[in-house]
Amino acid sequence: MHPNLSFEQAPPISVPYRFFLVAPWFGVIAGLLLAWSGGEVLASRWTPESLALVHLIAVGFMLQAMSGALFQFIPVAVGGNVWRPLWISNVVQPLLILGALLLVAGFYLSAPVLLAAAVPALLLGVGIFVSVVLLALWRTPATGMTLWTMRIAVVGLVVTVLLGSLLVEAMSRGLALPIIELTNVHLAWGLGGWALMLVAAVSYFVVPMFQLTNPYPLWFARWFGPLLLAMLLLWSVLWFCDDLRPAQLIGAPLALLCGAFATMTLRLQYTRRRKINDATSLNFRVAMIALLVFAISGAAMAIDPGLADDPRAAVWLGMLAFPGVFVSTISGMMYKITPFLNWLHLQRLGAPISAVPNMKKMIPGDSMTAQFRLHVLAVLLLPAAVWLPSLAEVAGLVFSVSCAWLAWNLTLAMNSYRRFRDQIRASALRC
C-alpha cells in the first residue's frame, strides 16, 4: 500500500495532549520532594529520595512526554501508522502513571512490595506501547536516519525497562545479582540508548526544520546512533568482567560521543539561517550545553576514577542529564508541538485558513519566555545543590514552580484549542 502522506493518520489531538499535560506534574512532585527532603538526600544516588527523584523525572516526566510525542511524531515525521492510538493511549497512559507512582513510592518508602507492584504495570504499559510503535516504525515505507535512530531508541526503552524490572525483582526477592553493575547498565540504556537516542532521532528532523539550520551531516547521522548503540553494548558487557577498568575506560569515549552530539547541534544552531530565538530554540541550546558539561564531567570521571569516588559525583551527572538535558529538550519541543497541533486540528474543522488563528496565538509568548527563564534558574541551582546542600530547598521549589508553569502554559494551549474550535464551529453554524 502506498503512503497517503496525509495527516489523517495523525492521532486525535487528545492523544498527545493527555501525555503532555500529565508529564510536568511529575516534575512538580519531584521539586517538592527535593525541597521537603533537603540537600542531604543528594549525598548519593542510592538514597531512597534520590532514587524516587530520578524515577519521577525518568518514568514520570520523560516517559509520559516522550510517549505522547511518539504517538504524534511517528505519523507526521516518518509516515508510520500507529494502530488505534486513542484506544492504545487509553490503556497505556493509566498503566504508565500507576507504574511510575508505585515505583516512586516504593523507592521513597523503601517498600519492596510497592516496587514489585510497579513492575507488571510498567511492563504491560511499555509492552503494549512498544509493540504498536515498533510495528508502525517497521511498516512505514519511509527511510532515513531519523527512522533508524528512532527504531534503536525504542529498542533502548525495552532494554531499559527489562533491566529495571530485573533490578526490582532482585531487590524485592533478594536475588544474588550484581546490583551496582546492573544499575549502571540500566541507567546507561535509559539515558543513552533510549532518551538521547530519541532526542537525536527527533533532532535530525526538527533542528533543521524549526531553526533552518543545515541538516546534520549525513556521516554524523549515519554513525552517531549505531556507534552509541555499539558502545553501550560493549560497556554493558564489560561491566560483568572481573576487571572493571575497561568498563570505566570505555566510559570516556561514550561520554565524548554524547559531547559530539551536543557540539554538532550547537554548531548547527550557531550557523542557523533563522535568527529568531524562541522558547524552543533556547531550551534546545540549554539542553545541549548541559549535555556538553555532562559529557566533559563523565569523561573526566572515566579517565580519573578518583574524581568519582565522591558519591555526589554521580548525582551531579544525574542533575545535568535529567533536568538539564531532557526536561529542557522536552519543554522546548512541547512549546512547538502544541501550537502546531492546535493549528493543524483547527484547520481540519473545515474553516477557511484565514479563520484559523496562527500558532503564536496559542500560548502567550511572554509566559513561555518567563517559564523558560525560571527553568534555566532551576537547571543552574539543581546541580549546584549537589555540592551546596543548603541550596536544595530553593532549587527544588524553583524547579517545582517552573514545572507547574509549564503545565499551566500547556493548559493554556489546550484551552486555546477548545476556544477557537468552539468559535469556528459557532461561525460555521451561523453561515
Partner: protein, 145 residues
C-alpha cells in the same frame, strides 16, 4: 541528476529567502521585508506550479495513482497559499505580530510538507520517472522563475 533533485535544492533556496523576510519584518524593517517576502512568495509559487503542472501529472500518468500522495500535496499547497495571502495582508497592515505568527505557522507547514516530499514522494517519483527528461524541464522552469 535524479528527477527531483532540482526541487529538493529549491526547497533550501525557499528556506533561505523565507528567513530573510521573517527577520526583516520581525525587526520592523518593512521595506526590506516587502522585497524579501515578494521574492519568497514568487519562488514558492514557482515551486508549487512546477510540481502541479509537471511532476505530479507525470507521476500520476506513470503510476496510475491520481488520488494518492499527489492529491494530499496539492491540498497542502492550497493551505500554504492561504497562509501566504495572510502574510501579505499582515505586511500591508504593518502587523508584525500577525506576520510573525503566520510566518511561524507557514514555516512548520512548509517544513513538514518538504520532509514528506523529500522522504517519501520524491523517491517514489525518482523511481517511477527515471530515464525521463522531467528533471531537466523542472530545473529550467525553476531557473527561469
Amino acid at each position: 541528476m535524479s528527477t527531483t533533485q532540482p526541487l529538493f535544492q529549491h526547497h533550501k533556496h525557499c528556506d533561505e529567502i523565507f528567513a530573510d523576510a521573517e527577520e526583516a519584518c520581525s525587526n520592523g524593517d518593512w521595506a526590506a521585508g516587502a522585497g524579501a517576502f515578494a521574492s519568497f512568495a514568487g519562488q514558492l509559487e514557482a515551486h508549487f506550479l512546477s510540481e502541479e503542472e509537471v511532476l505530479f501529472p507525470a507521476f500520476e500518468s506513470a503510476t496510475g495513482m491520481t488520488s494518492g500522495p499527489t492529491e494530499v500535496m496539492r491540498g497542502e499547497h492550497r493551505q500554504m497559499r492561504d497562509l501566504l495571502a495572510q502574510m501579505k495582508q499582515a505586511l500591508a497592515d504593518r502587523d508584525s505580530d500577525g506576520f510573525g505568527g503566520t510566518a511561524e505557522t507557514l514555516l512548520i507547514m512548509m517544513q513538514q510538507h518538504n520532509m514528506k516530499e523529500e522522504n517519501i514522494l520524491y523517491p517514489m517519483c525518482d523511481s517511477a520517472l527515471g530515464g525521463t527528461d522531467i528533471g531537466n524541464s523542472i530545473a529550467q522552469r525553476l531557473a527561469a522563475s
